[in-house]
Symmetry: C2
Subunit: 354 residues, 2 copies
């Protein structure tokens, strides 16, 4: 139904889907080779002999017809376009390569092409209950992995070793893998917003920032926690930490359908500005998560303003980064509800001293 | 120099490189954001404030000028094109998306575009000594990880758990991560050429096939070993194993500069056919490895015939797959030498019974 709505919007007779994330989203197919062709009436899934069995199991229940083509999938698509008298075909211009497009032009004679732009990203913003359940599980795995490596967080530990252990603990709990390069950033490195784990060793006193997540059944989780290693945080450490935490919770508590992404960003940002740290929070407040680690909506003063809708899943992750001193970021995955929010992460946001 | 040669071949005044693997290959930059513009005289590396420090360290020694542009990299490229009177610009049509291309057309007025096709893949076929040294290390990590998990390979072990342990052991030894989804396929599943590790448990008797590798400093390794779990392999198990092993070693011993990819494939295939298993070896013999897990040359009866040159790095991986019974594949990474070959893997190819 979604695809027919999009055909109407784009005034197209059919949609060709070749990006595997979108193939998965619309057909349910989780393998690596296959193409979706949707017309007003029909849903075709074209794949080769290696995947027909998997396709029968995954896409037929979603109303797709499996078309086996071992040699020339594009020629087969061309035949289907003819059979269905397709004149205007919508394509994924943001992922189709120029050379792929040239082979479309060569194979699909007499067809006019229409760009889909970011319309699939907009569709994917609002999750189904099944998608939310998977993301909830991905967040749970993330929480558990963090708890499992706590005993290893101590002076002398190498950042990279901690990231290796986090990844291992996530995989042991069923994750497909990390959802991005894991950030473990200690002391001065914690002031880098994206300090991917390095060979640096943890010192006796200071912040250690962990930003990580996993893919589980294709969906991403994303959590940040900053701990204090040692027993003597300065007043400034506490002030910075508490400011970020307050800002994060203020923003989380403001989440509900009808609020806009920029309003959320502003709530956290104004709080941090009020404490005098505004210039040290240079990035956006968060982003959507789903089949990709960064999806729509961007929750940022820099991104398009989008009105939150029920069942969007976003991150809320303000931070303060003081060069030479250290930095703090706290991040949760949040489901937008009609009248509020659900936090998917269970890990404490109290300042943990280890 | 390579880039100037390509400009000549393509009759272009300049080359724009946006695919990050090729950016890395030609400039040395290992970060995530940056664009290379090469003209006959100049090498520009355009990036934003986050990466200028890294770029200074990585690309300047390779003769590149770092151009910082925080907002509109394409507008900056357009200026550079004008300054250098570029008329014909070569682009990576196989990785540039249609929408990227449209923004090139919009930003780069009066420029004619030339497709690079697969020319970078052809350049990347022949490795430098430095690249080979990195791949050698990646192969060593792969060997060591396999040795480390040997004690876990026993009846009742879950395939997925073994793949998790392999990945963990590779990361602990400095790998960036696995170079593809790890295959652990036991008993009937070993007859699937690409049986990614599943929830299946290892049985008391039968083949277990491991196909895995890592990325290390950006470069891939790729090794397959098949072991026999249990103590009572049948005659058929031994015959299948020995046939694959003989075929693999025959092909490896034939590797040297001047031999073609199809000749190698034929040597292994004819041996297997002679033993009556020809129809059960349906895939190609191997492929190049490098910044990607599958690079040129394809070493296969199906792929373009390419004459091997010194310092190509290829895999040799014949297999026999008998549905319902099991399958065997043995794979090494091989450096092509002027008069022979170097095997990068040290793991035994004797039939290991565990």
């Amino acid at each position: 139904m979604k695809l027919n709505k999009i055909m109407d919007q784009k005034n197209a007779d059919a949609i060709l889907i070749t990006n595997m994330l979108n193939v998965r989203y619309f057909s349910g197919f989780t393998g690596t080779t296959g193409v979706v062709l949707a017309t007003g009436e029909k849903r075709y899934f074209i794949t080769d002999f290696r995947y027909t069995e998997q396709a029968d199991a995954q896409v037929v229940p979603n109303g797709f017809e499996v078309v086996r083509e071992d040699r020339q999938p594009l020629e087969r698509v061309a035949e289907l376009l003819k059979e269905n008298s397709v004149k205007r075909l919508a394509i994924e211009d943001t992922s189709v390569s120029l050379s792929q497009f040239r082979s479309f032009e060569k194979n699909f004679e007499g067809i006019d092409f229409v760009d889909l732009g970011d319309i699939f990203l907009r569709e994917r913003m609002i999750k189904t209950p099944e998608e939310i359940e998977i993301i909830r599980e991905a967040a749970r795995i993330t929480d558990e992995a963090f708890a499992a490596i706590k005993p290893l967080i101590k002076e002398g530990a190498v950042e990279k070793d901690l990231s290796t252990e986090l990844e291992y603990q996530m995989k042991k709990r069923g994750a497909d893998g990390p959802s991005f390069d894991i950030i473990v950033a200690s002391n001065y490195r914690s002031a880098m917003p994206h300090g991917v784990a390095s060979e640096k060793k943890l010192e006796s006193e200071g912040f250690v920032k962990f930003d990580f997540g996993c893919f589980y059944k294709g969906y991403a989780s994303d959590m940040t926690r900053t701990i204090y290693l040692g027993s003597n945080p300065t007043e400034k450490h506490l002030e910075v930490y508490n400011t970020v935490r307050e800002a994060q919770e203020l923003a989380v508590k403001s989440v509900k359908a009808g609020v806009t992404t920029r309003e959320l960003d502003r709530i956290a940002r104004e709080y941090i500005e009020g404490k005098g740290y505004g210039e040290y929070f240079a990035h956006g407040l968060g982003h959507g998560i789903g089949l990709q680690i960064h999806e729509y909506p961007g929750v940022s003063f820099k991104a398009e303003e989008i009105v939150l809708e029920e069942n969007m899943v976003i991150t809320i992750e303000p931070g303060i980064y003081l060069e030479g001193f250290g930095g703090v970021r706290i991040e949760d995955d949040i489901v937008v509800k009609r009248d509020g929010y659900e936090i998917l992460n269970g890990t404490t946001k109290d300042l943990v001293k280890l």
